[in-house]
Symmetry: C6
Subunit: 267 residues, 6 copies
Amino acid sequence: MTDSEQYRVRQEPFYRQQGNEVALYAAAYAARLPVMVKGPTGCGKSRFIEYMAWKLDRPLITVACNEDMTASDLVGRYLLEAGGTRWLDGPLTTAARIGAICYLDEIVEARQDTTVVIHPLTDHRRTLPLDKKGELLRAHVDFQLVISYNPGYQSLMKDLKQSTKQRFTAFDFDYPEAELEATILASESGIDRALAAQLVAVGTAARRLKGHGLDEGVSTRLLVYAATLVRHGVAAGDACRMALVRPITDDRDIRETLEHAIDAIFA
Amino acid sequence: MTDSEQYRVRQEPFYRQQGNEVALYAAAYAARLPVMVKGPTGCGKSRFIEYMAWKLDRPLITVACNEDMTASDLVGRYLLEAGGTRWLDGPLTTAARIGAICYLDEIVEARQDTTVVIHPLTDHRRTLPLDKKGELLRAHVDFQLVISYNPGYQSLMKDLKQSTKQRFTAFDFDYPEAELEATILASESGIDRALAAQLVAVGTAARRLKGHGLDEGVSTRLLVYAATLVRHGVAAGDACRMALVRPITDDRDIRETLEHAIDAIFA
Amino acid sequence: MTDSEQYRVRQEPFYRQQGNEVALYAAAYAARLPVMVKGPTGCGKSRFIEYMAWKLDRPLITVACNEDMTASDLVGRYLLEAGGTRWLDGPLTTAARIGAICYLDEIVEARQDTTVVIHPLTDHRRTLPLDKKGELLRAHVDFQLVISYNPGYQSLMKDLKQSTKQRFTAFDFDYPEAELEATILASESGIDRALAAQLVAVGTAARRLKGHGLDEGVSTRLLVYAATLVRHGVAAGDACRMALVRPITDDRDIRETLEHAIDAIFA
Amino acid sequence: MTDSEQYRVRQEPFYRQQGNEVALYAAAYAARLPVMVKGPTGCGKSRFIEYMAWKLDRPLITVACNEDMTASDLVGRYLLEAGGTRWLDGPLTTAARIGAICYLDEIVEARQDTTVVIHPLTDHRRTLPLDKKGELLRAHVDFQLVISYNPGYQSLMKDLKQSTKQRFTAFDFDYPEAELEATILASESGIDRALAAQLVAVGTAARRLKGHGLDEGVSTRLLVYAATLVRHGVAAGDACRMALVRPITDDRDIRETLEHAIDAIFA
Amino acid sequence: MTDSEQYRVRQEPFYRQQGNEVALYAAAYAARLPVMVKGPTGCGKSRFIEYMAWKLDRPLITVACNEDMTASDLVGRYLLEAGGTRWLDGPLTTAARIGAICYLDEIVEARQDTTVVIHPLTDHRRTLPLDKKGELLRAHVDFQLVISYNPGYQSLMKDLKQSTKQRFTAFDFDYPEAELEATILASESGIDRALAAQLVAVGTAARRLKGHGLDEGVSTRLLVYAATLVRHGVAAGDACRMALVRPITDDRDIRETLEHAIDAIFA
Amino acid sequence: MTDSEQYRVRQEPFYRQQGNEVALYAAAYAARLPVMVKGPTGCGKSRFIEYMAWKLDRPLITVACNEDMTASDLVGRYLLEAGGTRWLDGPLTTAARIGAICYLDEIVEARQDTTVVIHPLTDHRRTLPLDKKGELLRAHVDFQLVISYNPGYQSLMKDLKQSTKQRFTAFDFDYPEAELEATILASESGIDRALAAQLVAVGTAARRLKGHGLDEGVSTRLLVYAATLVRHGVAAGDACRMALVRPITDDRDIRETLEHAIDAIFA
């Protein structure tokens, strides 16, 4: 089926296992249990799901949730056409029909109607009522629902309801430990391991400031950016400033602390 | 009638009675009194209604309410088509026409217009005014309205109005006592009773923390998830962490307490 | 006229007069003065209006107001059809055209535009400007406007404006005194007077708790529910719990007090 | 022109002058100055404008403003029809075209876009830009704009902007003094002057409570209601309770005070 | 071009220069710099722009901004027609196309999207992206943007952003000094200079109360109203009350102070 | 391709490098890394991006973000046409298709759905899901995303999320130092360097007041305005008042301080 092919992950995504998460996810998928992946921004949650979709050979439909997203954006809507209206499945409906893994990224950003609409897909019913169409869709046997969730961000005002949380099995993620992270940097950017280790050292310094002036540490993604800039001829210090300092803070003191770390590491 | 068949519960749902609720519900249905089912998340409220619909041989139309749901989503709307507009009954209207049980799940999540729209269906009138269509629908003689309600969640801002509450007879639900819950786990997942009892012990430990750091205990549903993971080859400890710890809390202390309980029970 | 017939009250509704309200209402109708009925939920306000419509032989159009209701929902709107747009009268416009009694239930729930739109229908003008249609509708000579209002619910944020209040004559309603209420219970459910009196005693006990932990007492409607359940074979205690306790409170202490009352009365 | 005739005041409205307001209004109209009428609810502001429209032989278009009213509701909008869209003038545009007096009742209730849209009609430009139609409408030479305004209601949040106020000449209104008010009651309801004077005495008593528990006194309109009920055979005391007490307050003490006044006056 | 003619100022507007503002504006227009005119309500800001448009022989398109105005109201939108949709330029787009002066009156009232949409028209780009049409409009060489702004009204919540302010050259306006204001009154209403001077004296008295109970003084426009009423036969005291007292305040003390001033001046 | 040509920067924009930002940007573009430019209003951020687009010979699509902008405004929407609906790419989609640099100006002004919609375009996926069209767009190899950000404006309520920030490399901008700024003024307006230096001195004086009564200093753009007015014959003092004083503050004391500076510099 064409739809299905479009969402197939074509190449093995680069992913290094941190524990036994691959086997555990495979078991959850085998039982078709809904999965929640938790962890800070840019630590590889999306990459893991992409990898599992490739490994399990399932199409993957990713939806970046946001506070203006409505249930209709997930489920579908009627389009007006020459000969009347035509129903257009939303990404969640498509996934349920073709048996894809549906990955709702940063689900808490969405309005509550989107979180409630997934409930009947996450219990023994495995159905999705398309109320506007008068259809009760029974999910494809291969369909699975996955959501991501960054606990650090949640406030009292914006959190998943217990009645949603209690519908998922969960995985904890974090930044990879130093050795592995250096390997990732070298593989993704093409710089040598020594330099990669130095950049990881800068990242480690920045992560220590989390909660002491920084809301969040430096993600693996930003470290890969810095490595890539160096690979394109930018001096290491400039690359660190562009990718690891300026994007994450405007605080003068924090910036100075980070500059000192950079100077010390690349001295 | 096709519509009616689509909403028929095809197989007897697995349900173990906790008291005389089956007989009481049957009496309420015989008098066509509206019913409210109250209780914590994942304790089996929806399953009970599904079971009663099967037992009474009535179609069941379930609507997951949410704060973006409007009266039109329940009642119906006009669709634009090639030859003009066509009226499409909403799920509540369909239920009233075909004589189904209409189950509005988590009604307090909905906007107030949806709660007011059900009023004339819940008193001696048993009518539903389709104002936009200019039709006064008299409900099918077999129609019944059921709503669910989780008292633990309600705040001053979001509660049912007295003028709504005073239109329902009510049932209280809670998690099943330990023996029954173990039986449920064994039946649903296929694991043996001894292991099921151990998992129920973990659930009991978690439920004791409710109000002492946990907003809500562990639901029967999550216990079934854990049992299912074990059945798919996951170690008991890993299964508990995936299904009973990580989904419900990120608090370090609570997590530790739960880990201790798991270690003790599976030691 | 077809429309008119659809809204005719077909059978004499069961209604027991509490004072001289029938004669006073008849005078207000004779002068076509707008009427406001005030009182707690489920005390018989809607039933009284239904009864008067039957007695005066006028069609009755009831609208359950809600906070998402707009002036267009009352007045009417254009519908898109094959050959262009078609105007559809709303319930208020229909009532003004056919000379019905228009009963706006819980008017304060509505948005202010709906309360302002009724102003020219409630003074010497007796007109309804259909601005979107460019028509100034002069009300049928038999048309009358009635609104209901529960003073107990109103807050500073949600109250009728003085410029609206000062357009109505008003009736005060309350729960019927015990003798009459027992008669109503017996008539409506078919149980005997002795049992009816016992249920009324439970209701009286609950009403004494209003303001001492209960927002609202038990309505006559809930007493009828309890009577009906008994009539369908439910034990009196169970019927009271289902209809008079659980729907109105989750407070442990209040529930206990009510249980004691039930035990004492049915001992 | 048909439109114009529809808005013509057909009969001389009953109006008793309180001072020289008729001559002053005539001068303001002769100079086509915009007019603001100020005063409490139900004191006869709308009646005065109706009277002046009749006296000056101008069509009158009245708009009851409300907080959901948009500029489009005043100015006009496109309607979809079989052969495309058709522009429909709003009431303000119609008034500006046919040379009517346009009376915006309770203007502060409207959203600010409606108050700004009238600005170019109230200075030397006397134009109304129909932006959506690409037309700059120059008002008919007989057009005049009138707004009403109840100073007692205004709060800091909801008041006319100075840039709007400074575009109007203004009239102050209040309830008529006792003699005149009794004459009005007698004329409008057909009761005799003695009884009318007694009802006015009740009204005077109620107005003394304004600011001492009552937000607003009793309007002339409510006094006319009471008189009308008496004329239809209702006892004076009952008529006062229905029209002068219950609609305006639920406060037990205030109600008692008013009851005493009624008893004393009709003793 | 027809559009252009419709917006041409046909007659020289009455305008008396207060300083060298005419020459300075001409220089700003010659350099096509955006202009902001600041000052209290009714002091002649709009009249000045109208005068300059006449003097520079440019069409003038005025838009009264309001908080419900969206970028689409300024830029344009698609209209549905028989043969599909048709794009309709908004007033800003029309002005940019035909080389008009576009005057956005009370810009801070508008939503922020309207203030951001003007940015690319106010720097070296002089472009207007019509995103919905996929067109990048380059402004006509004669186009100029003018906004008005009343500093007295602005609050913390509603102010122009610095990134908007820093795109305009600015003019300060105020009420004309007494001699000039009397000349304006005499010219506009036709009353004699002596009486005009007396009315200006009343205005001066009122303006002294600004900040001492009055939010804003009396505008030149209201003085012209008073003069016009006198010209139509209204007594000077009545004219002052109608045009200078009642529209601007309901405060008893302030009204008394103003009455004393009127009595003294016209004694 | 036509679209592409429309967005081509036709002439070399005037830009003076302040450091090695041109080389660093070129490296970021070579690696197709997303870029964030930070700095105060009117310091040349937009000019820099325009210059880089010209230098790299890439089309540039600029979007002025605002709080009413939705994801659909960026991504695209369906238009209704004679023969049905037609999809219209939004500016972001167009840029991703044709390989343009897409510059989202003042991104924090936009609603969060617009910031989330760019996420999959800023990591290894480089995709844009057009959910409403059911298409997963893979970005053109030359596409790059750039956003601007003014740290001075951000509040707790309105800031980029860390999960967005950590997707960009960043550049810091500020006003040029005095010598360079005078060169810019002379080049852009045609006045001589001595006068340009005097105007820069006024700007420097104003910038010293930032945080001491002024929210923001005077931008380079306003200095160019002042220079341009002088070039059109306006006296230096008048030009400074029009371009450097009145637009940015209404505070009497600040204005006096600035007047003193102007007098001193042009004495």
